[in-house]
Every structure is written in C-alpha cells, then in structure tokens.
C-alpha cells in the first residue's frame, strides 16, 4: 500500500526562541531549523512499514517556502521515495494544511496518512485530526503502536490516564506520539541518494485551496518571568523555607 507522510520545517526544538521586539512573532532569521520531531517519527514509521513489506511507496509532503525542500530531502534520506512541496510564502494555519493534504490525498490515493501529533512551533495539535475529518476517514491521534491487518489497523493511543486501543478502518489518518519509534539518523550515502529522488513543487492554487489565515495574530509577547529563587544549603533549610516562607506544606 501507499503511505503519505507530512513533514514540517520548524525551529530546532533545542533552540530557545526569542520574541521579536516589535511583537509580530518570534525571531526566525539565522535560527537553526529542523524537521519537526513528530514528523521524523512519522517518516520512521512509514520506512519501517516499508522494510516490513507492508508498504510499497512513501510520499513525503511539506507545506512552506522553497527551503522546506531540505526537509523533504531529509525525509527521502530516511527512506521516503519521493517528495511534494506545496509552496506557500506566509503563515499556513492547520485548517489550510489539512485542506492541502486532503487535495494531495485525492490525487495520490494513499491508504494511510501519517502525520505528527503536533508541530513544536505553533503547538496547535490539529492538522492530522482535521485532515481525517475532511477526508471522512477515521483518525488515530497520539499513536504509540500500529499494526496493519489488511483493511483495518489496530492502534494504541496515548491518553491522559494511560493507553487506549482502537481498530480503525483503512484508509485512515494516524498521528504520531513520542513512543511510536525512535527515528534513525540519516547517513551520508542516503543523503546522496535522496538528492536524486523526485521532488515536485506545487502551488496551493493548483490544488484549489484557499490558504488565507483565519486567525489573526494581534501580537506576540514574552511570557511572564518568574522572580529569581534562592539556593538552600541543605534539606533542613529547604523544609524551613517551605513551611515558613512559601507556606505550601
């Protein structure tokens, strides 16, 4: 079966972001970028399913500027067979992402779409569930295990109290949680190979999708700062502070 995976280019998760002084967003100039970690898990899952003989082709999709081609090359170095970039300059909100992914699914007809559970920049946690809704497909969000059995899949989802098990009909959309797998590192030979894999660039208009943001960002600010704390010398002093100063125990 064919699988579609989505990969988003985001600020590297280990970079501490800085809010721009004009309050319009965060500083992205000269900041290290990376593939969204949950998307890496999505690609890894697809590649493992291909290695296991369940999947025949992996198509990676990204939405963003031409620089997102790098992210697609990384996905192909991990094992995706080809890439599709939907080139959009400005902000693309999750509903628009879902509409674009749906339009590509309509063309490509995959049996499974694997997406990250959340992008670590905007933290919306929406795009996968929205894509499933627009396609009228079942969804398995926050997945930590998946087994495909012909026309259904058994999935385990991470929920607040533990785990939940579902059987979903295919085709379906799955979003990845941290414990689904540990993504591989890309090797130099695979990076070289990825350069030769096909990468198509499309415009949203060609897919008939309106990507105009629905939510207007009025301002972006620094969060409230905590006041500086104190170092205590030992447990005894700690207990005294908790009892007499903080009064929390």
């Amino acid at each position: 079966m064919k699988v579609l995976v989505t990969v988003k280019r985001v600020i590297d998760p280990y970079v501490k972001v800085r809010v721009k002084s004009d309050g319009t967003g965060v500083e992205t100039a000269n900041v290290k970028m990376a593939m969204n970690p949950f998307c890496e898990i999505a690609v890894e899952q697809a590649v493992r399913m291909k290695e296991a003989g369940i999947v025949s082709e992996i198509v990676a999709v990204s939405i963003g500027t031409l620089q997102s081609q790098e992210t697609l090359r990384t996905a192909m170095a991990m094992g995706a067979d080809r890439g599709i970039l939907v080139e959009v300059a400005g902000e693309v909100q999750p509903l628009a992402v879902a509409k674009l992914v749906k339009a590509i699914v309509d063309k490509e007809q995959p049996k499974l779409v694997i997406m990250g559970k959340q992008a670590i920049d905007d933290d919306s946690n929406q795009a996968g569930q929205m894509t499933a809704a627009l396609l009228g497909w079942p969804q398995a969000a926050f997945t930590s295990a998946i087994t495909v059995n012909g026309d259904t899949a058994d999935v385990t989802r991470e929920i607040d109290g533990g785990l939940e098990k579902l059987t979903i009909k295919l085709p379906a959309v799955v979003t990845t949680d941290l414990r689904l797998n540990e993504p591989r590192y890309v090797t130099l030979p695979n990076i070289m190979k990825a350069k030769k894999k096909p990468l198509e660039v499309l415009k949203p208009e060609a897919l008939g999708v309106d990507v105009v943001p629905r939510l207007k960002t009025i301002k972006v600010e620094e969060p409230a700062k905590r006041s500086a704390g104190v170092k205590v010398a030992d447990v005894q002093e700690l207990v005294a502070k908790l009892k007499n100063e903080a009064r929390v125990i």
């Binding site: 501490k16 969804q139 607040d160 533990g162 098990k165 059987t167 949680d177 104190v230």
Partner: protein, 308 residues
C-alpha cells in the same frame, strides 16, 4: 452569545479541567450549556448540573460514545453546533483528539490551548513551548476553542441546571473501541494535584521511583516525570509533564533529577512554588526554581521525606 462546553468525565465524575473550561466560558459571557457524552454517564451529567454558571446540561448516553473515539462524537456535535457561538473543551488528550475534527467539519480554524480570554473573539495562547504568548483574533462564525486548565480557576459548585437527553447521532462505523489500559493509582491525578513530585533520568530506574512515591504519599502529592524517565521505561506515559505531555500548575512542584529542558519547563513553569533537587550546580531547572538544592537525590529525597 451561546456557549457549549463539552465535559470530560469517567461516567461518574467530571475530570479536572472541565470546571476550569466553564470558567473560561463565563469569561466569554453568555448562556452556558454543558454536553456530557458517553456511555452510562448520567451521574456525570448530574455533577455537571451543579456547576455554578451552567444553564443547561445535555446528556448523550449511548455505546457510540464509549471511550474517547472522535468519529461518532463529532458526527453528533455537527448536528447541534449551529446553535452555538462558541464550543469549548479542555486542552487535554480528550479534547485535543476530537475538537480539531469538529472544527474542520464546521470549516473553522480552531484556537488551541487558550490561557486567557481577551474578548469574545480574542484569546491568548502559548506558542513555542510557552516561550512566547500569542494574542489571536478569530473571524469564524463559531469559535472552536480548547482551554488550558491552568489559565483559569475551577468553577464553584452551586448551580442547578436542568438535564435534557440528547438523542444519539449517526454511527459512522469508522472506528471500534477496544478498551483502555488505565494506570491505577491511589494518588491524586497529575492535573488536579495540589502538590506534584516529579522524577527525571537522574532517578536511574523505575525501582528508585519508590523514593519519590514515599515522599508523595507523605505530602498527598501526585507523581510525575520527565520524558527521559518515561522513555527509559521507569514510569508509564501518562506521568509525562511537558510541552508534549501534561501541563500542570500545582501549588508546589518538586523536580528531582530533572535537568530542566525547554520542553519540560513548558509543562510546569506556571506552578506556584517550584523546588529543584539536582546534583549539577548548573542545571537549567534552577532558573525557574524558587528554592534549589545542589545535592545527590539519593541522599536528599529520603531526608526530605523524613523531615516533612
């Protein structure tokens, strides 16, 4: 304005977070209806009816809504959504699962994880793991919103809303619920606890978490963990606090053997008082701590348990 709050519950009681979501609805202002959807959940509907500020409770009791599966629930919600200006749920694993699906079915852009209400169409939400706060305005006709519980107080009791039955919607047949494996614990739930004791990779093993459990039991606290502790298999996934785990803001958060990565801080830095115990004098967790102790946890934690 007419607001629908979708309750999270276990059939009998409401989950922490739902009453905070009602407070967010009160801040928006308007008539508030709470939907309790599930299987054998009439008791939870009665609890919801007692929340101050709630005008009406809708009870959709059917096997179609067992567990948290989103497909049938959103099919039901789609039939009633048009009556409301705002639809709210907690930004927990429950709400995060079905709300975006509903939002796409209604062709509206959801507003995720709001921590403050500015006006009926403008809200504040954290982005980049809480390192920036965005104020966003929605022009959609129905506002679909998930609410970060730690941004709002829990609504008080004292209401006496009527409970009406809502007939079940269609069965989409897309997903079959095969049950849940819930972690059993006598300790309070992480998102409702007044005190949380959290352990990280520094704990070294699942066995060593007993040290934290002893401290937690003495304090009546919940036990949490960093991602590293969960990934290492010391504790189950539902213990994880952070950007991609649970967001908590207890009165007291005790971080033990946790370095203080951005993603962990995102889940706990709004706690009222933070204590950190770490043997590394440079640990980044100290930057958010009110009190910190540079010491080996295997010495400090048993001492703390004893002296409290």
């Amino acid at each position: 304005m007419s607001i629908l709050v979708i309750a999270e519950h276990d059939g009998k009681l409401l989950k922490p977070g739902t009453t905070n979501t009602v407070t967010a609805a009160v801040k928006i202002g308007g008539d508030i209806t709470v939907l309790v959807a599930g299987h054998q959940c009439a008791d939870a509907a009665q609890v919801a009816a007692k929340i101050a500020g709630v005008g009406k409770v809708l009870l959709a009791d059917s096997p179609l809504y067992a567990g948290g599966a989103a497909e049938n629930l959103t099919a039901l919600l789609q039939t009633i959504a048009g009556q409301y200006t705002h639809i709210l749920a907690s930004a927990t694993g429950y709400g995060k699962n079905f709300m975006p699906r509903l939002s796409a079915l209604l062709d509206v852009q959801q507003i995720s994880d709001i921590s403050a209400v500015v006006s009926a169409d403008t809200f504040v939400r954290p982005i980049y793991a809480g390192n920036a706060m965005a104020t966003v305005q929605s022009a959609d006709k129905i506002k679909v919103i998930t609410v970060r519980a730690t941004g709002f107080d829990a609504a008080a009791e004292g209401g006496s809303a009527t409970v009406e039955n809502l007939a079940a919607g269609p069965d989409t047949g897309l997903a079959t619920f095969n049950g849940q494996e819930l972690s059993k614990s006598d300790r309070p739930e992480l998102t409702a606890a007044r005190i949380i004791v959290s352990g990280g990779r520094g704990m070294g093993s699942g066995e060593n978490f007993k040290l934290l459990e002893a401290l937690a039991d003495k304090l009546g606290a919940a036990v949490g963990a960093s991602r590293a502790a969960v990934d290492s298999g010391y504790v189950p996934n539902d213990y994880q606090v952070g950007q991609t785990g649970k967001i908590v803001a207890p009165e007291l958060y005790i971080a033990v053997g946790i370095s203080g990565a951005i993603q962990h801080l995102a889940g706990m830095k709004d706690s009222k008082v933070i204590i950190a115990i770490n043997k590394d004098p440079e640990a980044p967790i100290f930057a958010v701590a009110d009190y910190w102790l540079v010491e080996d946890l295997f010495k400090a934690v048993p001492e703390l348990t004893q002296q409290i």
